[in-house]
Symmetry: C2
Subunit: 150 residues, 2 copies
Amino acid sequence: MKKRNYKEIVRELKERGYTLSMARIAILRYVMKENAHYTAEEIYKDLKHEYPTLSIATVYNTLKLLSKEGYIQQIMIDPNKVIYDSTLGVHPHFYCKICGKIEDISSDLTVSVNREMDGNRVDEVHIYVYGICKDCLRKEKEGNKGLRIN
Amino acid sequence: MKKRNYKEIVRELKERGYTLSMARIAILRYVMKENAHYTAEEIYKDLKHEYPTLSIATVYNTLKLLSKEGYIQQIMIDPNKVIYDSTLGVHPHFYCKICGKIEDISSDLTVSVNREMDGNRVDEVHIYVYGICKDCLRKEKEGNKGLRIN
DNA sequence: GTTTATGCAAAAGTTTTGCAAACTA
DNA sequence: TAGTTTGCAAAACTTTTGCATAAAC
C-alpha cells in the first residue's frame, strides 16, 4: 500500500482549482502520516498548538474535501466516530471491543472484489473486523492468573 | 442466511433472565422482518403509531440489548447513522452514494475469515461496499439522454 | 411485592451551517 | 481585487443518562 507525497497532492489540488490555505496544507500533512487513523477531533487538538486560530469546522471541511477528491478514506468501524485514513485501496481494519484501538491488519483475509455487484457499480470496499486485540487478550489472561477469577 | 422466529428469541431471552415487555417484543418483531435495515429513528416513528407511549430511549436500549445478545447486527456503513440488521453472519452490504439506499448483496465477493488475525481474536467481520446502485445508474443514463448533458 | 423496564426531558457528543472577516492567487 | 476559505458560535443530529412512574414476573 503506497503512500503518496503530500506535496504532490498539493499540486494536484491546485490543478483542480482548489485554494490551498495553510490550514488545508497542515491538515493534509497531518493525515498523510504513516499508519495514521485520526478523528477530526484529534487532528484539531494536535494542530491547534501549531495553528491557534484553527477551527474544528475547517478540519471537517478539509477532511470532507480530501475524501471527495479520493486522497483519504472515511473509516466507520467505530459506531461513535469517523476516523480518517490516508492508506488507500482495500485493506481491512481491526477494532478492539475492549480498548477501542483501531489498526490495519495484514493477514489471513482474502477478498476478491468486482467492479460490479448485482448490477450496482462498486467504487470502494471497506472491511471491518471486530474482536479483542492481542494486548487485551494478554491482559485478560494475566488478570485471571493473578486474581484467580473463575 | 436463515432468519429466526421472533417467538423463539422471546423464549431464549426469558431463559436468559430478561423481562420481555411489550415494547421489547414490538421492537424485536419489527426488526426481525425480512431484509430489514432500520435506524432507531425509523423503528421509533413506525412503532409510535401502534404504541403511542413508546420512547426513543427504549428503542435504543432494546437495540443495544439485542445486539449484545447476538440477535441483530449494527451496520455502520453510513457515516451519519447506525442501522440494525437481523440477518446474521458475514454478508456484505451495499450503500448507494447517490440515494443512500442500503441493501444486502449476494454475489461476486469472496471472503475467507479466520478466528485469529495478527494475534487478535476475531469475533465479527463487516463488509461494506460503496458505489452507485443500479436504479441511480439507470436514472443517470436516462437523464443524460434526455437533457443531452456532456 | 420486588425487580426491571419505561418514558420523559435534559445532556452529551459529533458534525454542519451561516456569515462577517481574513486569506489566497 | 475578486473569489475562496476561515473562524466563530449556534444549530442540527444522533445517542445516552438519570430518575420517578409503570409494568412484568
